[in-house]
Structures are given as C-alpha cells and as structure tokens.
Amino acid sequence: MKFFTTFAAVIALMNGSAIAAEECAVPPSLLSSDTGLPRVSGEIKNKHRLDISVVGTGSSTLPGPDGASFAYPARLTEALRQLLPGDEIKVVVHVQSRQTTADMTAGMKKILSADKPALVIWQAGTFDAVSGIEPDEFSVSLDAGVDKIVAAGADVDLLNMQYSPRTEPLLNVSAYADVMRWVAQQHGTLLFDRLAIMRYWNDEGAFDLYAATKKSDMARRVHDCIGRALASQIVDAARLTP
C-alpha cells in the first residue's frame, strides 16, 4: 500500500513539473536586459563555479518545515545545475521573515564577507510596504545595500514584490517597485521583475492568484517557476548560453 502511495505521489510530482514547464513561459521582454553579469561570467568561465547569495524576507520562502526546499532559491539551484552542467553551483540562502531593507542592508557586509558571492539575489520591498516604511527611506536603504554589494565586487540581481491581487486593495506596492527599478537602473544592475512576471502568469491564466487555498501545491509551482525564470535570466545576462 505504502509503495502505491509513494508511486502515485511520484507520478503526481512528475506530472506537476511537466505542467509547470508549460505554464511557466515568460515572454522574453520580461527577462531580457542589456545589463550583464561580468563577475558571474568570469567565475563560470575561469573557475567553473558560481557562488550565489540569496538575501530576502518572507516571500523568499514558503511556510512549513520543508517550505524552504520548495521555495525559489532551492528551485533556482536545481535549475542552474541543469542549465550549467559541469559547473559547481553553490547557493547560500539568507532568508528571514519580518526584515526591512534597512535591516538587510545592515547585515549585508557580514553576508558578503562570509559567502564571497559572485552574485547577490536580493529580494526586498514587501515587508517595507507592509510595515509602512516610506518609499524614500526604502530607496535610501536599498541604494546603500547595493553600494555595499558592488563594493565587494559582486553582481546584483534585485528581485521585487510578488503580484498579489487579493491584498492589493490593502497593500500598494507600486511605489516600492518603482524605487527598485530606479535603483537597479542607476547602478546598472539586473532586476528580476517578479511583480510583472507573476501578473503575466495570472493574466494568461497560468495561475489563479486570486484563489484562496490552504494547500501549498500552487505556491510551490509558482516558486518553481520563479526559480527557473531566474536561472534563465542569470544565464542569459551572463551570456552563458548553454
């Protein structure tokens, strides 16, 4: 009996990932960028390895004891290993709920010196919006954090808010998204526009982000999709076409 249950679960999972591959299409315009990732390119070409630090808050993980293993940082690692076979991929995750961007900026130096990453993926904005931090203040903190990362010689990929239609009447994230776009442009760094991408998925019917559910399956599929879109953005931007 146990065997059959496991078997059914494996089939369901495989089926799920097959569906995910189809439902995750992202139009190239949302991923393409003129911005390169020189440090990432160098590491891969010269050392055949890639060290990434993911810094973020609650929306970089999923609830539950095994949530992190289904969240986008884990899915990104997996996707990068598939896209760059033969290279060593190491992703260190620094995700902690209820942190403002100012908190993360304060802790950035420690992360940089411990991980010595070639790329920092920095998810920010949501908790600042939730806790009513002014967009101006958010901008200053984000700017200072990006400065620190750039000074440490790492590339940056800023990852913005999730598209969340049901909480939108209560939580307006557009001002924070504007700040992130502007900071990325000012520093010539990469931006992963999670907000626009998730909105695209919702509008195209790939996911029903309005749906209320207590189950984690859709959340996991969304994170899987984000992980893979992020991997393809990195590979493209670093000109590492497999």
């Binding site: 908790f127 806790s131 931090i133 101006d136 009447p169 939580l171 189950k215």
Partner: protein
C-alpha cells in the same frame, strides 16, 4: 444661528475696531480684486448658492458661476475614481499617464479656489467668526465622510481576512496584522493617522480647511503675503522634512505642509491672483514654455511605460528629476499643473460655448457636488476593485465597471442637485434670509 443675533454686523464692527486699517484695505481691495470676466480662472459658486443678504456682495466676486471650475473638478473626480482601481484598462487614459501631475492637483487647486471664493465672500459679508465657523463646519462634514469611508474600508479588509488565505502570500498577509488590535486602529483612524490605501485626500483636505480661516484673513488683507507665506512653509517643510506622523509608522501620503501651497495658490487666484496672472497667461512665450514643458513631461512618462525607452533618459537628467515625489508635491508636479492650467485657460475661456454642451453637463454636475461625489468615488473604487478581484475581471469587465461607476456618480450628483433645489425652495419659504449654504457643495 449667528444670523438671529445679527452677529455679522457685530463682527464687522469688532474687526474695524481691532484693525481699522486692515479692514479698510480689505474693502478697498475687494472690488478691484476679481474682475471675473478678465480673470483666466474666475470664481464659482456652489450648487444651491444663495446670495448673502446682510451686505451687498462685492461686485468683483459675484459675476456668477464659472462653470470651468465645476467642469474640471468633475473630470478630476472621475479620474481619481478611475486611478483608484488598479489594473483597470481605462486607467491608461487618465492624466497621470501623460505627465507628472494628476487629478489630485486639479482637485486641490480648485478646492482652494472655491473655498476662498465662497468663504472670502462670507468673511467679507459676515465677518471672521461667522465665516470661520462655517469653514470649520465644512471640515467637520469632511471628517465624518472620512470616517464613513474608513468603516467601509474596514469591512472590506475584514472580509479579505476572513475569506482569503494562500501560503504563497504569507508575507503580504501581515498587512492584516492591525486587525488584531482594532481598538488601536480605530482610534488612530479617528486621529487621521491611520492611512489606508486611497484614503489620503480627505485628511489632507480637513487639515487644509482647519488652517484656512487665518490664511483667508491674510488673503483678503494682503494676498501676496499669504502666497509668500505658503511658499515659505512649503520650502521649510521640504528642507526640514516636516510632515504629520502616520500609524503604524511613516508619514502622511499627502504632506499637508507641502500641498497647502497648491490650495493657497488656488485661493490666491480666486481673490484676484488669476487676474494678475492674466497678462502673463496671454503671453506667447509663456504659452510656448508651457507646451514645451508638457511635451517634456509626456516624453518622460513614456519612458516609464516602455522600459526600452529608459535608456534615452541620461543619468544626469534622472538624477536631476527623480524621484518625482507626490507626497511632498514635487516642484515638477506643481510646474506641470501650472503648465496644464496655462494651456487649458488659453483654449477654454470663461464663455467657451462648450460649457453649455449637453455632453459636458454630467461632469459639471459632478464638480458641483465635490464632497459627495469624491466620497462616492472612493467607495465605488473599493467596490469596483472588489468585483474585479472576486471575478477576475478582464478588460471588458474593467471597462464596464469604470463606466458604471461614472454613471452612478452622475446620477448621484443629479439627485443631490434635486435635493438641494427642493431644500432651497422650502428654505426660502421659511425665511428670506439665507444662511449661505454655499459652503456645502462648493468648497
């Protein structure tokens, strides 16, 4: 109640006694203040307006209604409603996509203009205390309206909290945290410190009106002092980062110390400033600068829509203009509004025949009942957004909701006019002396 005591004449006597020179200046100044025919933006009165009977109205302020103000305020109210529904395809047609300023500037400017016109006249006719009392009563009405909207907002939030959950949005759902402390939240809302999305304009308006009596007094005495004072407050607020605190943290979305500049500027225009500017507004150079600036602003907004165009904005220019701060009424926004107004008055004169076109009457009607229609608009935006998110509305649903919302606004404005006219009639039967209910709809 003041009328019965003949308070106005007492007031005037007190005012003359207290400051004979100032009052004499006021009386001398008023007639030349607003030759409305020449004024680019001339005074409006509100629906149901009745001429004051205690003193003959100052000729300069009373050439009748300037329908342009009603028209543009009505349109601004529609645009505010549309802008408050996110992901609405109709939003692509609202003002904010074509320049730096948006409908909020129009609304606050015209509110300042009408407030000065209506209460300036009251202050002239009936004195400082009576007019101040009416301004404060108006502020109280707006406060009550704000709390009413807050109640609806809380109901919506409570509904989302009760019905929506999704592990994907665990972090976003923290926004509902304040529901755990409804006592604190409600108390903070009563203090105007709690700032739900889209409910920021009324608190601003309340504060502007609370501070308006002394400002109006100065405006009627020496208009330039009031304007310069407002500009100084604006500069100080920006320089020292002064704003009112909000709950749970942060500051007001519309900084009253910054936005007062636009309100006072509107008021200044109403008491003769517009006339002073008329020469400037007729100048071709000014017109050319205004058009050039509008085109520049339009080009910049295009780069927000189309990311590939962003690279045409050189970094030095970006450094210079960004961020274009709405909270503190960025100078670029203010300038954009001025340019827009300058171009508008060039094409839409006070006696523009279009103001009589039936197709524009609905907007004019809405502009005449601004408080009611503004509140209704906020409520309809909540409701519209709710419907779109409940049924995942596509472009067709969004368009239908937008149009339906505007139709409801028009119908309500017409109904309000009807009520006012009925009340006006019965009121006239009771007493010949009018309390000058014009504060209600106009300011």
């Amino acid at each position: 109640m003041f009328r019965g005591l003949n308070f106005a004449s007492l007031q005037r006597w007190l005012a003359i006694a207290a400051n004979p020179q100032g009052y004499a200046t006021l009386l001398r100044w008023l007639p030349r203040a607003a030759n409305a025919e020449a004024a680019p933006l001339a005074p409006a009165t509100s629906a149901g307006a009745s001429p004051s009977t205690t003193a003959s109205p100052p000729q300069a302020l009373a050439p009748g209604r300037d329908l342009r103000l009603d028209l543009f305020r009505g349109i601004a109210l529609w645009l505010i409603f549309l802008d408050h529904i996110p992901h609405n395809i109709v939003n692509y047609f609202t003002l904010r996509n074509y320049g730096f300023s948006d409908a909020t500037e129009i609304f606050i400017f015209i509110s300042g203009y009408t407030a000065a016109f209506v209460y300036g006249r009251a202050m002239h006719d009936r004195g400082f205390i009576v007019s101040s009392a009416r301004i404060l009563r108006r502020a109280w009405q707006i406060y009550v309206a704000h709390i009413f909207l807050f109640t609806i907002f809380m109901a919506e939030i409570a509904y989302v909290a009760a019905t929506f959950s999704n592990p994907l949005y665990a972090e976003e759902m923290n926004i509902l945290g304040f529901l755990k402390q409804p006592d604190v939240t409600i108390f903070q809302a009563l203090l105007l410190k709690f700032k739900p999305v889209n409910m920021d304009v009324l608190p601003l308006y309340i504060v502007l009106l609370l501070l308006f009596p002394p400002v109006l007094r100065v405006l009627l005495w020496q208009p330039a002092y009031a304007l310069v004072g407002a500009a100084i407050v604006y500069v100080l607020a920006l320089h020292f980062d002064i704003n009112l605190p909000a709950y749970p943290n942060g500051v007001w979305v519309f900084n009253p110390f910054a936005w007062q500049l636009l309100f006072v500027f509107g008021a200044w225009c109403a008491v003769g400033g517009a006339q002073r500017l008329s020469g400037l507004l007729r100048s071709r150079v000014v017109f050319a600068i205004a058009v050039a600036y509008l085109l520049f602003a339009f080009a910049i907004t295009l780069t927000w829509r189309f990311e590939s165009l962003q690279y045409f904005v050189p970094n030095w220019l970006g450094d210079l203009i960004y961020p274009i701060d709405k909270t503190n009424l960025d100078v670029l926004r203010f300038a954009h509004f001025l340019a827009l107004a300058a171009v508008t008055v060039k094409f839409v004169s006070r006696d523009w025949p279009g103001l009589k076109w039936p197709i524009l009457q609905p907007a004019i009607r809405c502009g005449q009942h601004s408080l009611e229609i503004f509140c209704l608009g906020v409520f309809l935006a909540f409701a519209g957004q709710f419907i779109i998110s409940e049924w995942s509305g596509g472009p067709l649903v969004q368009t239908a909701i937008s149009l339906l919302g505007i139709l409801i606004m028009i119908a309500t404005a017409s109904l309000t006019s009807w009520y006012r006219s009925m009340e006006g009639r019965s009121h006239q039967q009771c007493t010949k002396a009018s309390p000058g209910n014009l504060a209600g709809g106009g300011a």
